[in-house]
């Protein structure tokens, strides 16, 4: 298990994603899978940076876990309770002119990852993203 904790600020996004990339590759994911996992992680981290702490500064913690047949990313924050899975999904079959900008991120997360779990424990949001190794 590897863990990084940084202030939930946009300037730290690169560092957090580098951390995920490094661990994804170390776990043996293909370049294609690693890139997709980073897209999913970015979306989850951006949600925390943008929405978790509306009135204060807070931190985001990113944990990467290699369980042998799976690679898991666990995103944690102590911000306002927020279940990303509650967001409506966009209709990706609509013509581009009618597409809405919101909801695309969570749609991508669900498509990329094999399993996503949101939990609220005490004052923590815990969002777990799991990718099966092939």
């Amino acid at each position: 298990m590897a863990k990084i904790i940084l202030p939930a600020k946009m300037e730290n996004l690169g560092k957090l994603l580098d951390f995920v990339r490094e661990n994804a590759i170390k776990s043996g994911l293909s370049k294609k899978d690693a890139t997709q996992v980073i897209v999913a992680a970015e979306e989850g981290i951006i949600n925390i940076i943008n929405y978790a702490y509306p009135d204060s500064d807070g931190k985001v913690s990113v944990i990467c876990e290699d369980t042998g047949d799976k690679f898991a990313i666990i995103l944690e924050d102590q911000g306002i309770p927020f279940d990303p899975l509650s967001l409506p999904e966009p209709d990706v079959d609509l013509p581009i002119e009618d597409r809405t900008i919101g909801g695309l991120g969570i749609f991508m997360i669900k498509n990329i990852m094999d399993n996503v779990i949101y939990e609220r424990e005490d004052d923590w949001n815990i969002f777990t993203l799991i990718k099966n190794k092939h």
Binding site: M10, L13, G14, L17, K31, K32, T35, Q36, I38, V39, E42, E43, I46, V92, D93, P95, I96, E97, R99, I101, L104, G105, F107, M108, N111, I112
Partner: protein
Amino acid sequence: MENKILVTCKDGIAKAELTGRLDATSAPTLQNALKEILGEKIEHLVLLVKDLEYISSAGLRVIIFTKQKIGVDAKLYLIQPQDTVLEIIKMSGLDNFMIIQDSFEE
């Protein structure tokens, strides 16, 4: 690879050359560069992505937003995408609205 965004517009053809990573930190730069040319008549929006290594949904949103602004008749091209980028675009369904090819001939 260093992130670089170069947007030009001439004779109805807008070109955006994207290098490196198009993520939540670099997408606003592209959005602003494209906003500059929105006043012009654009028939073709050409994304030159040979050296683009990564695109996240922040980047996809800029593409959707721009296509909506330039109108139904404008054609959207994706030129020489790397496999990793193409996979993400296909997953979002945006490939249905793009002409994906190896080069753009004016």
